[in-house]
């Protein structure tokens, strides 16, 4: 299954944020979307999942136009997002958050164990009482626990301690091995450079640079873009 944005435009009310963004994510690849604060990364994720209306362009999933399809149907078609903020139901338990991703209770332990000891055995705890980093891990676990073919991960490492960033990277690598496609939105390059097959740089709502893993000078070029 291939996920594609063609000339995508979006924004908030009368304020345009995205100005014709085009890219694709195929199954079995990780595409890193990098950019500074305010570049439009989160707007792009919200538009792709359907929480923001596209004002122009097309979003295609598996060859079907899903631009006007409501979020819940996009999810059932194979798309899933983990948001930078408001990424889980803080009033519900850890287990309930996983159940909402379609993961049966006997599987909860296995999925939580992917993120080390910190979430293990805490299925009954209210998600809102977890630390910020643990909440981010639970949000990532919920997305990874779904059966979605394409994952949109919006800054999943924000607030995570380095050891947990490593664990999350391992989990995303496993998702790629399973044949899933991942759009990894990151502001920090270390994880993106370790995992991604391709790179997209977003600036002021437009793609200004692209690259492929292993390309000579890629890290310096991306660092330069983010440091500007």
């Amino acid at each position: 299954m291939r996920f594609e944005a063609r000339g995508l435009r979006s924004g908030y009310g009368s304020v345009p944020v995205l100005h014709g963004v085009s890219f694709c994510v195929a199954q079995g690849e990780i595409v890193a979307l990098v950019g500074r604060n305010g570049a439009g990364k989160t707007t792009l994720v919200k538009t792709m999942i359907g929480l923001l209306r596209a004002t122009g362009g097309q979003i295609r999933l598996g060859g079907s136009d899903i631009t006007r399809v409501p979020p819940s149907r996009r999810v059932r078609a194979g798309l899933r997002a983990a948001f930078q903020e408001r990424s889980l139901f803080s009033q519900l338990s850890v287990g309930d958050n996983l159940r909402l991703s379609g993961l049966p209770a006997p599987e909860h332990g296995r999925v939580l164990a992917m993120f080390g000891e910190s979430l293990a055995g805490r299925e009954a705890q209210r998600a809102g009482t977890l630390s910020g980093g643990e909440q981010k891990m639970l949000a990532a676990a919920s997305a990874l626990a779904s059966t979605a073919s394409i994952l949109l991960m919006d800054e999943p490492t924000e607030g995570l301690q380095p050891s947990n960033v490593e664990l999350l990277g391992d989990a995303l690598a496993v998702a790629r091995q399973q044949g899933r496609g991942v759009l990894l939105v990151e502001q920090h390059l270390a994880l993106a450079l370790r995992l991604a097959d391709r790179f997209i740089v977003l600036e002021k709502g437009e793609i200004v640079d692209t690259g492929t893993a292993g390309e000579a000078g890629l890290a310096d070029r991306l660092s330069g873009r983010l440091a500007l």
């Binding site: 999942i49 819940s72 999810v75 899933r80 948001f83 139901f89 009033q91 519900l92």
Partner: protein, 284 residues
Amino acid sequence: MDALTLELLNGLSLFATLAIVALGLGIVFGLMGIINLAHGEFVMIGAYVAYVTHANGLSHWLSLPLAAVVLFVLGACIEVGLIRRIHRRPEVTILATFGLSICLRQAVELIFTREFRGVPNPVPGATRAFGVLFPTYRYVLIGIAVVVVVVTLLAFTRSRFGLTVRAIVADRDLADACGVRTGIANFCAFGIGAATAGVAGALVAPLGAIEPQAGLAYLPGAFLVVIVGGFNRLWGVIAGALVVAAVQTGVIHFYDAVWAQIASLALAVLMLQLRRVPVEGAAA
């Protein structure tokens, strides 16, 4: 002592009636953030279902599931035809459901006229318990209301459907983005809310006159319960009904019914001040 026992039983009966009448309102408000001013009319139509059942020579007990089915279908149709198009605009839903309540009253008046109707008490007589005589049907009402309320609340809190409902109440957009079919959940919630109001109407039908304006009497009490009990916790309906019934029964015992209403309203205002919840509801 007997007088106190009688007041307690009266309070228990009022609690059961308030809880089952307010349950549907709590579901619709808590889940969808909709202030349904036509909720009293759903109760009134439930009472008419009991009347039609009796007029056709059928058992009163049959009217309870019949009212649930009739009101579920009616509520679902209203959700699809009206609420779905406006549910994200709370002020519009208030006006729309106010208009709907008038339409429903007029429709019932066209069919049944303004004539007062009645349903005979299916369990006449009184039962002596705890040293006092108390109408047997009121014991039955308390039992059925408690069962309906508890089963409904368990369905909303323990089932997969209940989980999706709680997710929607917590964050509708996130629920949508997790694949929860918020539209179907709204459809079911409005239907179930109307159905419980219908059962309430059929249940209280033998206790008073059935006429097109009857629903107006139930709406304020139901809102008091939801306000006092809290907006986004369905179990709050039980707590709210308990507090309102206790206040009303207590004030009636020491003063009169007018002061009981004043005390209930003052309690509701106090709770609103304490919670500072916006009018558009918790689910918004």
